[in-house]
């Protein structure tokens, strides 16, 4: 695919990332327009996590350009932080801060926009209770949980709190690295629906997935194999043959 339009939320062009033995990504192009929901498919080691790390700025590619909302990574520290604040990542291990309450964790997503005084106050007082409660409600959680330490939550609740934190950040680009890998099928379906519902224009969603059976809510699918884009098109075009090719003949996952 050629370069994305200038309004693309994320545009990657000719991305190469070198690995120890073979390239982890080679000449990858990918573009996400506002409101687009894209699923990233591929076997383990295909480069999905590497691609997401490039997309969220954690990893600088050896070659190629990254554009966030049409802008190259800013040179100044402040400008770069402003860009990062618009990229929300849902980590597979959630990365909640275990020692803090739910509300403090949610507010931690605001730190990029808050100054020191509020960042310190957040460790002392419950701040922005209404906004935090709204974020919890959007994830079907009881706002009464706000004062709980995150260690007191169940696994499903933690997952939802991490997603609520993502909302608090108000990103334009949502990235998620196999967020559903460790969940039971019913919960995975529920959470995916919540996440997809949040990805309305101008927000775009890029989510790496191990289960082609969950593709329904997405607009597009991108298939990676050995660090290269093998497929990029509407979800409807994902065929059994393509999946077999992506996963090298082995069944992509044990569908329950």
């Amino acid at each position: 695919m050629a370069a994305g339009p200038p309004t693309a939320v994320l545009a990657l062009r000719g991305i190469c990332v070198r690995g120890r033995e073979r390239p982890r990504l080679e000449d990858v192009d990918l573009s996400l327009g506002p409101g687009e929901r894209v699923a990233l498919l591929g076997a383990s080691g295909a480069g999905k996590s590497t691609l997401l790390a490039v997309a969220n700025g954690l990893l600088a590619p050896a070659a190629g350009t990254v554009l966030w909302e049409g802008q190259a990574p800013a040179r100044s520290r402040r400008g770069r932080r402003r860009q990062q604040a618009r990229i929300g990542t849902l980590w597979q291990d959630l990365r909640l801060i275990e020692e803090l309450t739910v509300q403090q964790n949610l507010n931690a997503a605001r730190l990029a926009r808050w100054g020191w005084p509020r960042a310190l106050l957040n460790l002392l007082l419950p701040l922005d209770t209404d906004a935090c409660a709204a974020a919890l409600r959007a994830m079907d959680l009881d706002p009464a949980l706000l004062e709980q330490p995150v260690t007191a939550l169940s696994g499903g609740q933690r997952q939802r709190v991490a997603m609520a934190r993502l909302l608090r950040q108000e990103p334009t680009l949502l990235l998620a690295d196999e967020p559903l890998a460790s969940l039971d099928p019913r919960l995975a379906g529920e959470l995916l629906a919540l996440l997809l519902a949040q990805a309305a224009a101008p927000r775009a969603l890029l989510l790496s997935l191990h289960r082609p059976d969950l593709l329904d809510g997405f607009d597009r699918a991108v298939g990676l194999k050995d660090g290269r884009v093998l497929f990029d098109g509407p979800v409807g075009q994902v065929s059994e043959a393509l999946l077999a090719d992506l996963y090298g003949g082995t069944p992509p996952c044990e569908t329950p």
Binding site: L58, I87, D93, R95, L96, I97, E99, L100, L111, L124
Partner: protein
């Protein structure tokens, strides 16, 4: 909104740094015009140390003496600590005699030598047997031995006794059963803690030198007093090299033998390299004999006690008339100030330099200097520009302990999972807030628990800055010592010991609270 303020973990870590506010108010009036040029030339001399071979040779000789004293004192403390530690273990007594009561008794007795700082031991022994190399060695070995004994017996009693009971039930004699069941499990903990004590012994040996017990400390003090800053820095850099090499060597051995870090003693496990560890321990014996010979340690000379002046008819009225509340208050204030400075500044400085990658290396160097530079010398240096008193002494003591705490904090920062900090930075938080939220959260409670332990050490240490004057018990103790007022001295040491024991109890409670809440 809740009405109660409940500081969260990472904020708690910064609260002690609030001590800077009163200090900022109290410090300026203490400044006197005097010696800023002296401070300036002292700082400049850091990059222009003396390279005169005569100076270096004499400093190296002093360094050798200091290292030798540290090694012997440390080895002595290990032997003492092993014996006394076994003797104060409830498990051991229960296995041998069926009752744990004697262990409790010995444990309480050992609290006294532990409560008295090695400097007081050194100065008392100096009065008793005169100046000889063995004084510094003993001064280190006695209190350190009691400390090792406590840690060892705590370790021993925390071990599960099922293996031991099984051996006993199978008819093994008690001593053999104890050694077989508990020995291997104990070795890693003992070695880890023992390594840490060697670092402490080097610092103590330097400190004792400052008070005239020989070695590099004495040279450092003389060069400082005669304003020979270039020579002073030659000595400091040499000492720094030795200290860093020692610390690196110890952590290397610790990693090689897979033993847990400092104060994480609860983990058990049979060291795979037990034979290597035992060999290393066995090699210490001839080494110590050699060093002892080189230093001229003569155990027989320790028996020549000097007559004590006027211990019989003490002047107890004068002793009672000492301004006790002021002395105790001064000591406590000094302790609190120094502890808050050390505990609070380490995380604060790390936060301040967080955006600048190389600045962390600068902090590392500053902290290393803080660790090796004896607090009384910092205090003397501060006197060039500050008036004597509690605050000056607290700055000196705080700087030294900042070095100890800062190193520990940095080690723990490096050892914690970077995931949360990375996630914060990825979401656009600045490096400082990412560090505060992402890493300090997990570190806060163990760090504060260690800080509580350190506060107790600082209380014990407060005597070493007594020479600044007007710092409470420490100054009075040094004064009484120089006027041979034995009655006062006894009372002061007793009060010091009581305070330290109370402090130890308090800091133990605080520690357990912090760790339980975690």
């Amino acid at each position: 909104m809740r009405d109660t303020l409940k500081p969260a973990a990472p904020l708690l870590m910064l609260l002690p740094a609030l001590v800077l506010v009163p200090l900022a108010v109290l410090l300026p009036p203490l400044l006197h015009g005097g010696g800023w040029e002296l401070i300036g030339s002292f700082a400049l001399a850091a990059v222009t140390p003396s390279l005169d071979p005569v100076v270096l040779a004499s400093l190296l000789k002093g360094l050798g003496v200091t290292v030798g004293m540290a090694l012997l004192g440390w080895a002595g403390s290990l032997v003492l600590g092993l014996l006394l530690g076994v003797a104060s273990s409830r498990t051991v007594w229960r296995t041998l005699t069926g009752s744990g009561v004697p262990a409790e008794l010995i444990r309480r007795l050992l609290a006294l030598p532990r409560a008295i700082h090695e400097l007081i031991w050194g100065l008392l022994l100096l009065q008793l047997v005169g100046l000889q190399p063995a004084v510094a060695v003993l001064a280190i070995a006695l209190p350190f031995g009691a400390l090792v004994a406590r840690v060892l017996s705590d370790l021993l009693d925390a071990l599960p006794t099922t293996g031991l009971e099984a051996l006993r039930a199978a008819g093994a004699p008690a001593p053999a059963a104890l050694l077989t069941a508990l020995g291997p499990a104990l070795l890693p903990g003992v070695l880890s803690y023992g390594g840490y004590r060697l670092e402490c012994a080097l610092r103590s040996a330097t400190l004792l030198g400052v008070f005239g017990l020989g070695g590099l400390g004495t040279d450092l003090k003389l060069t400082l007093q005669s304003l020979q800053f270039h020579e002073l820095w030659s000595g400091l850099w040499l000492l720094l090299a030795v200290m860093l090499a020692l610390e690196a060597g110890i952590s290397l051995l610790r990693r090689r033998w897979l033993v847990p870090g400092r104060f994480v003693l609860a983990r058990r496990g049979v060291g795979e390299r037990s034979r290597e560890m035992l060999l290393a321990l066995a090699a210490l014996l001839p080494l110590c004999a050699l060093v002892g010979r080189g230093l001229g340690v003569d155990p027989a000379a320790l028996l020549n006690w000097q007559p004590l002046p006027g211990l019989g008819g003490g002047d107890w009225a004068t002793t009672a008339a000492l301004p006790w509340p002021r002395l105790v208050g001064g000591t406590l204030l000094l302790t609190v100030l120094a502890a808050c400075l050390a505990v609070g500044l380490a995380p604060l400085l790390l936060l301040v330099v967080a955006p600048v990658g190389w600045a962390r290396q600068g902090l590392r160097l500053l902290w290393a200097l803080g660790r090796l530079w004896p607090p009384p010398l910092t205090a003397l240096l501060l006197l060039f520009v500050l008036q004597p008193g509690v605050i000056t002494a607290a700055l000196a003591l705080g700087f030294h302990n900042l070095g100890v705490l800062g190193r520990l904090l940095l080690e723990s920062v490096d050892a914690t999972d970077p995931a949360a900090e990375e996630a914060m930075a990825c979401g656009g938080s600045g490096p400082r807030l990412a560090l505060l939220y992402g890493r300090f959260s997990a570190l806060a409670r163990p760090y504060l628990a260690y800080g509580a332990y350190r506060a107790d050490v600082i209380l014990r240490e407060s005597v070493v800055v007594g020479l600044v004057g007007a710092t409470g018990l420490g100054s009075q103790l040094l004064e009484s010592l120089s006027s041979f007022a034995w009655d006062q001295l006894l009372a002061l040491v007793a009060v010091y010991a009581l305070l330290t024991l109370a402090g130890e109890d308090l800091s133990d409670r605080a520690r357990h609270r912090w760790l339980r809440a975690a």
